[in-house]
């Protein structure tokens, strides 16, 4: 964990709902993997807590972060970030097809993994459900199959896409996280006879006051006890979670 000072070099509107902040690069961020995030405080911002930022692209020259378009960010602003928050997604080594699902929220936390998955010849399908259907995907690599579904978890070729997927990562509206994961758990129990371990992951995004496991606000219940979404998350195997 380090505290870094970055600059917002450019702000680029990518669709009706989201903008990309192009940040100055920092060597320390090159090791950041899909799933890990930053806790950011923008100088001059009135927000009291740090915002959780999920990078969608990292290179030696820049870090790109996706943020909602209704937040105001100005170029040449300094950002204090705590890095790195959380653990990388646990993709299987023998992976051929991944299903990424966003339900009532943007798929932002899932996007950083896409370039690496494509580079490893992994097929990626992105399903946008509920209000996530309004997320415009023109900026996403054309190799990704994007499927728009409804709020009742119906989408085209649902049985096939689930059947082909070696792993599934789901992100949901943080305001209703456990209830949403419960519904999705029930759905996948209908679609499959048995849900194996390390197959169905929920990406938890509670508000993180500290990001280091000190405040206890992001503690979630597992079948073996409790864990922190900030230090051990954001992705948890739903077979190991207590979703009540």
């Amino acid at each position: 964990m380090r505290e870094l000072i970055l600059n917002i070099e450019r702000v680029r509107r990518v669709n009706e709902t989201h903008q990309h902040l192009i940040l100055s690069a920092d060597q320390a961020l090159l090791n950041l993997k899909a799933g890990q995030s930053l806790l950011a405080h923008v100088e001059g911002s009135s927000a009291y807590l740090r915002e959780q930022w999920f990078p969608i692209s990292i290179s030696k020259s820049e870090v790109v972060v996706e943020r909602p378009a209704d937040r105001l960010y100005m170029p040449a602003t300094t950002v204090h970030v705590l890095s790195m928050i959380g653990q990388p997604f646990r993709y299987r080594r023998t992976l051929r097809s991944v299903l990424l699902i966003a339900y009532n929220t943007s798929p932002t936390p899932l996007l950083l993994s896409i370039p690496a998955l494509l580079a490893n010849q992994v097929g990626v399908t992105l399903v946008l459900l509920g209000s996530a259907a309004s997320y415009k995907t023109e900026h996403i690599a054309p190799e990704i199959e994007v499927i728009i579904g409804d709020a009742d978890f119906n989408w085209a070729n649902r049985v096939t896409t689930v059947g082909w997927a070696d792993q599934i990562f789901i992100t949901v509206d943080p305001a209703d996280e456990l209830a949403s994961f419960r519904k999705l758990w029930a759905l996948f129990n209908q679609l499959r006879n048995e849900i194996p371990k390390a197959y169905l992951f929920g990406v938890f995004q509670p508000i993180l006051p500290c990001g280091v496991g000190a405040c206890g606000a992001c503690m979630i219940r597992t079948k073996s006890g409790t864990t922190f979404a900030c230090t051990q998350g954001p992705a948890f195997d739903l077979t190991e979670m207590h979703l009540t």
């Binding site: 964990m1 380090r2 505290e3 500290c210 000190a214 405040c215 979630i220």
Partner: protein, 305 residues
């Protein structure tokens, strides 16, 4: 500069710097090891620990406010025995005293907790957290029960807004010092429109507590530790000026961890000054590569007129 922050009772707590994290913001020990030099702090105050295990609260835990945050965690912890067994070794190696924050709900728990803690050398002192809606007489009973069973230095964190009479009652019962106050409780709507109750952390808390510190310090014959709303070294100094012997920093630790250390260095008489000729990254070890390069390139050179 050492400060004795509890009365000389059976034992007392002396710290090098009158600044420590408040209970509930700093974890159990090493969570902030990468961001804060622990040895610069006066003491480590642990997250709240209960005699038996408590589960995390269900529902929304954090509601961002206009200028602050409301937090309701349910004080999840695995219970006193497990916490001690897990962290004993780390606490023994800590460069600063460890103050365990023990939450009790009755005198019997106070006695049981005290007996367990008494066996532990790694714990220097105890901060007792008592329920918000307790009468002074009941709080005094709980404190007396703890003191009867333990020789450890004892601090009592008082519920928000209690009077000097309440403070006097727990001090008379054996408290070596009091913390004013636990964060106030409030209610706010979360993003889903549900009402959530919890503790409020905000800079606005400071003037409210500061007034009480000034009043209560004059009434009680035990040290007072100020806590609430500290967001700068000046805020912390205000508490000392009002008569507090030390301060506890709460949510600032979350939003700007380094500030806790900076306040501790400041009030501990270690105000940092930039060594002549120090490179920017020596001056600010957390600085990013980009910022370091920018500052170096901004620095005047021999060629500059």
């Amino acid at each position: 500069m050492s400060v004795t922050v509890t009365r000389s009772n059976k034992s007392s707590l002396t710290i090098d710097t009158p600044v420590m994290p408040a209970a509930g913001v700093f974890g159990y020990g090493d969570e902030y090891r990468d961001l804060i030099q622990l040895e610069k702090l006066g003491a480590l105050v642990t997250n709240p620990v209960t005699v038996s295990a408590w589960s995390p609260s269900s529902g929304t835990r954090v509601v961002p406010l206009e200028s602050g945050v409301l937090v309701h965690t349910g004080l999840p912890n695995p219970g006193l025995n497990k916490v001690i067994n897990t962290y004993r070794s780390m606490w023994s190696r800590m460069p600063i005293p460890v103050v365990l924050h023990l939450v009790i709900t009755n005198a019997e728990e106070a006695k049981r907790g005290a007996a367990r803690i008494e066996e532990e050398d790694s714990i220097t002192a105890v901060e007792l957290g008592i329920a918000d809606d307790l009468e002074a007489s009941e709080a005094a009973k709980q404190v007396a029960a703890f003191v009867e069973a333990s020789e450890k230095a004892l601090i009592v964190r008082l519920p928000f807004g209690v009077s000097a009479d309440f403070a006097e009652a727990v001090i008379d019962a054996g408290a070596g010092a009091v913390v004013l106050y636990a964060p106030p409780r409030g209610t706010a709507r979360d993003a889903g429109g549900r009402l959530v109750s919890g503790r409020v952390y905000s800079p606005i808390v400071k003037p409210l507590v500061l007034r009480s510190v000034g009043q209560i310090v004059r009434r009680v014959n035990a040290p007072v530790i100020g806590a609430g709303g500290i967001h700068s070294a000046a805020d912390a100094r205000d508490y000392l000026d009002a008569g507090a012997v030390a301060v506890q920093v709460d949510s600032l630790t979350w939003i700007n961890p380094k500030m806790l250390e900076i306040i501790a260095r400041d009030l501990g008489g270690l105000v940092i000054t930039q060594p002549l000729g120090a490179l920017p990254d020596e001056w600010n070890p957390g600085m990013g590569e980009t910022e370091r390069r920018r500052r170096i390139s901004d620095a005047p050179t021999k060629e500059d007129p």
